[in-house]
């Protein structure tokens, strides 16, 4: 271990500016919230938008083309970090805009909530741009703890609070597992940096502590990804959280952990894949089967999407399994493509749910959307596109994503996992179709409260954009997007070899 005093140059501040801007925004929001005069909805809204847009601009502009490590690997600036940060910031920005149109707007745009929200995003930005185990843990927990609080606090109903407590207790357990795993890795390798860990691990394979460390880290990461059998928190948390936060959990949290998992397994631990591959394969297979089967029997849409997200985590885990051998950057590129597709589709689906919800009905059931095509034809159309895409039917992004994932898996001879994926997809079509059947082939049911009539222009634009992006990534854009993903994922594949280079840059 060498404790270098970081060189806090202008370049360093520039590179970390997305995180700094968000931290600053969080402080401003909190202070403004205290003041009676400045704590109004509009001020907080502007602070949120300004910090997110600022951070987004900074993330796009400030990142160097070559991966550079700062603070002994605590902060990695490079294309993969930028990819993760831009994705997370874009989604958070859209979620913020969507909150403006919901019944929760007067609660969401308050100082302390906005501050928490920005902290959550800060944690995510740190997690996707770090290779230091402690920093990774801090980033993960910053986002998780913020989310526990938001779920319980944003809409203080009994159900939300129950969900928040479950999320918190199980999430803390996961954090403990992860921390334990990281600690074991540190004890056995003597380093907290993933690049150094990855160099030390192959020589230490005889030691059980290393293996335990890898396996505990895997369990912790599976927990955060809601992979079965560590998925139990997801359905409750998804269902009880306000839908905007559910969207955040389904998209940004997933993006964060997938990028972490790619760095961790596909990058650093690829050389010792025989330790974690069987476990990850098992977890992926169970997730695809269990997630899809449990989704069959749900009547709440959010709960159904929670189980479907477990299954989708399983598909993404297939690609991470595939990156174990000397497979180059293709599997990671495939998982990133799948991730982008899944993010777009989830965002579309959840924004439609957010549009339709109201104060008295913020957990839509299948019954609620019965006959939706007659009352809300555009919402029904949008949701139908999302469902076909989730199921992986062409010409949507869901199909191309699934093709890339299966492709990378079959190139690396994971035939069994692909077959389970195929079976899982076949089951999934059944419950996705049920949504479509209810919307298009059933009559509206008299509801105690009406669904919201028309979306605001903004919501309509968001939904339209997700549908267009969905179809474009399924038809004309796969090549361009995939090229970009391959470029982005090269860093991961190259990580172990280039350890010296990145170290030398950092000091």
């Amino acid at each position: 271990m060498n404790f270098n005093i970081p060189s806090l140059t202008a370049e360093f501040y520039l590179t970390t500016s997305p995180v700094l801007i968000l931290c600053f925004g969080a402080l401003v929001a909190m202070l403004a919230g205290v003041s009676r005069r400045l704590g109004g909805e509009l001020v907080i809204y502007s602070v949120l938008l300004l910090s997110l847009v600022g951070a987004l601009a900074a993330a796009v502009a400030a990142s160097p083309g070559v991966e550079t490590a700062y603070l002994s690997g605590s902060y990695l600036a490079g294309v993969l970090s930028r990819f993760g940060q831009v994705l997370i910031l874009l989604v958070s920005l859209i979620v913020t805009l969507l909150f403006k149109a919901t019944f929760l707007r007067d609660r969401f745009f308050r100082g302390e909530i906005a501050s928490l929200f920005l902290m959550v995003i800060t944690g995510m930005l740190i997690t996707v741009a770090s290779e230091d185990l402690v920093t990774l843990f801090v980033g993960l927990e910053l986002s998780s703890i913020g989310l526990y609080a938001l779920v319980g606090y944003l809409n203080p109903s009994r159900r939300s609070q129950e969900g928040a407590i479950k999320y918190f207790v199980l999430g803390s357990f996961a954090a403990a597992l992860l921390l334990f795993g990281f600690a074991l890795l540190y004890v056995s390798t003597g380093s907290l940096r993933l690049t150094e860990v990855s160099q030390a691990v192959p020589k230490l394979l005889g030691h059980n502590w290393v293996k335990l460390g890898v396996v505990f880290s895997l369990a912790g990461i599976s927990f955060k990804l809601a992979l079965a059998p560590f998925h139990l928190w997801a359905p409750d948390a998804y269902e009880s959280a306000p839908t905007g936060l559910t969207a955040l959990m389904a998209t940004t949290v997933k993006a964060m952990v997938i990028i972490l998992a790619a760095r961790f397994f596909a990058g650093s631990l690829a050389s010792v894949y025989e330790v974690w591959l069987p476990a990850l394969m098992f977890v992926a297979a169970i997730s695809m089967i269990l997630g899809n089967i449990m989704a069959l029997v749900q009547s709440s849409l959010k709960r159904m999407l929670a189980y479907s997200s477990i299954a989708h985590s399983g598909y993404m885990a297939i690609a991470i399994c595939a990156s174990s051998a000397n497979s180059g950057s293709l599997p990671v590129a495939a998982v990133l493509y799948y991730l982008v597709g899944y993010t777009i589709v989830s965002l579309g689906a959840f924004s439609i749910l957010m549009w339709l919800e109201n104060k008295d009905n913020d957990n839509l059931l299948l019954d609620d959307i019965s006959g939706l095509s007659k009352t809300h034809p555009w919402a029904a159309f949008g949701l139908a596109v999302c469902m076909f895409s989730f199921a992986g039917m062409p010409p949507t992004v869901g199909f191309i994503g699934k093709f890339f994932v299966f492709n990378s898996a079959l190139i690396n001879h994971l035939t069994g996992l692909v077959l389970i994926g195929v079976i899982g997809s076949s089951i999934s079509l059944f419950y996705y179709l049920r949504v479509i059947v209810r919307m298009y082939m059933a009559d509206p049911i008299q509801l105690p409260t009406q669904l919201a009539p028309k979306p605001s222009l903004l919501v309509a634009v968001v939904i339209g954009a997700t549908v267009i992006a969905n179809l474009a990534l399924g038809t004309v854009l796969p090549e361009a997007a995939m090229k970009w993903m391959v470029e982005t994922s090269k860093e991961v594949a190259a990580a172990p070899g280039s350890a010296e280079d990145s170290q030398s840059v950092s000091h």
């Binding site: 076909f388 199921a391 039917m393 062409p394 010409p395 199909f399 093709f403 890339f404 299966f406 492709n407 079959l410 190139i411 035939t415 692909v418 077959l419 195929v422 997809s425 076949s426 079509l429 059944f430 179709l433 059947v437 298009y440 082939m441 796969p478 090549e479 995939m482 090229k483 391959v486």
Partner: protein, 525 residues
């Protein structure tokens, strides 16, 4: 003209899709009707262009088009025509305007959506017929399910949701396994040549170990067997047919099912010749079982539409044995059976299409399809009787109709390779005559007892307009089979004689660019 010649397949395929969008945007249903009719006629004219400029002397791929789609994975936009898909393309573009004519009078609120979905479906069918890249084909093959799903689910009968869900899930499961098999084939090809490609023409040469080949063939054959549908994967078909609206049944029987047999001939057999030789007896046996089982079940039906639906199971059994029989025993015997199979696909589309139309005609008038409710209709609806008899005779394969030519060739070829299969299948022809004539007799003849039937109106001019072309074609195909067969013979002989090292030669531009993996330029002009 140069542009049209080099893009005719794209035009034929995507004009319907553009029409579908235009239909959605049309302000009124009356305009939407004309737009959809116009679009479908343009597609038909485009396919006529293919027909007339098609070179009947060569087995090669014609009117090829190739553009890069996902070049880093070797996935391309490749289209082409040869003798195996030419007739099916014609059938698709020919049936579509007739079907649009048959729904001309419907004017419920959703009708615009129907027309739009129908045109999308036409694009999907044509696309999967002309695609020569596995992934490109798969996109059309599966995207096609979505419009059909809605057509049955929104316009169908009482049990439509059950039927349409069963339809889409059966097909989806088979297709996904095929997708996995396609990727395995793609990886195998890479291991042998170092080139990633999903170009079907390149993949034909890929050799796989025998055991791998068996699995891959099984996955492909399952996907296509479900679509055909072959016994025992046929159970979705009667449900889908019974619940679908008339127009849906016509296109389902007319074209969609043929995509299954086409897929067998285009993909499964030439890609995996050894596995085909092993599986051929099983396939022939299943085909023969399908023929007899379908015929017996059809005979027992009380519902006219179900009867026609089961007759499809029986008739497609002939197409399956015709496609496979040539290869049974491991040696290609003759091209006769395969020629018959290709021809019979078209005949079945024409005759069964007409039968579904006719059942639809009386259903529109009486809102029942039960045979017991009819009898003696010939007295009040003489023209209807004429049409029904022509369609029935073509369906049972009376000499002078297309059905005879197709069935005769199939039985001839099958008999040469397996006398037992040939003889049993011939029994199916006999049974076919029994139940189809029963259908005719129960509807048309006998005493006219039911009061409601005495006032039935004969065919309207609109009904004439869409039934007459079918009736004429059924006879023309029986009397002048060479008009059609001459065009397709070289391709069929190429497959039947060389199925072990099957190759299709494409026009020059396609070949010269085959190895340019990561090139971005558009090709094929």
């Amino acid at each position: 003209m140069e542009f049209i010649n080099s893009h005719i397949l794209s035009i034929t395929t995507f004009v319907p899709l553009l029409t579908a969008i235009a239909v959605l945007l049309s302000p009124a249903l009356s305009i939407a009707r004309w737009v959809s009719m116009g679009g479908s006629i343009v597609a038909f004219l485009a396919s006529l262009h293919i027909w007339f400029y098609f070179d009947a002397q060569t087995a090669g791929l014609q009117f090829t088009e190739m553009h890069e789609w996902i070049p880093s994975f070797g996935i391309r936009y490749i289209m082409g025509v040869d003798g195996l898909n030419l007739l099916l393309i014609m059938l698709t573009t020919f049936l579509t305007p007739l079907i649009l004519l048959s729904v001309w009078h419907l004017d419920d609120k959703k009708q615009k959506a129907f027309l739009s979905l129908f045109m999308t479906l036409e694009c999907g069918m044509l696309g999967s017929l002309v695609a020569f890249d596995l992934v490109f084909f798969y996109v059309f093959w599966e995207a096609m399910l979505i419009p059909m799903y809605f057509i049955i689910g929104l316009w169908g009968g009482k049990n439509r949701i059950y039927a349409t869900t069963k339809f889409i899930i059966y097909t989806f499961v088979g297709s996904l396994l095929m997708l996995a098999a396609m990727i395995v084939l793609y990886v195998l090809h890479f291991q042998q040549t170092g080139v990633y490609t999903t170009n079907l023409l390149d993949l034909y040469g890929t050799s796989a170990e025998y055991s791998t080949q068996m699995w891959l063939f099984a996955a492909f054959a399952l996907a296509f067997a479900i679509k055909v549908p072959m016994f025992p994967f046929h159970t979705w078909l009667p449900d889908a047919h019974t619940e679908a609206p008339t127009s849906g049944s016509v296109i389902l029987a007319g074209v969609l099912l043929k995509l299954g047999t086409y897929g067998l001939v285009r993909f499964a057999i030439p890609l995996f010749p050894q596995a085909t030789a092993t599986f051929a007896p099983v396939m022939v046996a299943l085909g023969v079982i399908g023929i007899i089982y379908g015929a017996l079940t059809a005979w027992m039906q009380k519902d006219a539409k179900k009867m026609v639906a089961y007759s499809s199971v029986s008739h497609l059994g002939f197409v399956v044995i015709g496609s496979v029989a040539v290869i049974s025993g491991g040696a290609a015997l003759s091209a006769e059976a395969l020629t018959g199979a290709v021809y019979q696909q078209i005949n079945h589309g024409i005759s069964t299409g007409a039968l579904f139309f006719l059942v639809g005609c009386i259903y529109d008038r009486r809102h029942t399809r039960m045979l017991a409710d009819f009898g003696g209709i010939a007295k009040v609806m003489p023209w209807f009787a004429v049409m029904l008899i022509v369609a029935t005779l073509s369906s049972v394969g009376l000499p002078g109709t297309g059905g005879f030519v197709g069935e005769f060739l199939i039985l001839l070829g099958t008999f040469l390779s397996s006398p037992l299969a040939g003889a049993t299948a011939a029994l199916g022809v006999l049974l076919g005559a029994v139940y189809m004539l029963t259908l005719c007799r129960k509807i048309l003849f006998g005493p006219l007892e039911n009061e409601e039937n005495k006032t039935l109106e004969d065919l309207t001019p609109r009904e004439f307009a869409y039934l007459t072309p079918l009736a004429i074609l059924a006879v023309v195909m029986g009397v002048f089979p060479n008009l059609f067969l001459d065009k397709v013979r070289p391709s069929i002989e190429n497959l039947a004689n060389n199925f072990r090292n099957y190759k299709i030669v494409a026009e020059a531009p396609l070949e010269s660019n085959q190895l340019l993996g990561a090139d971005h330029k558009e090709m094929g002009h």
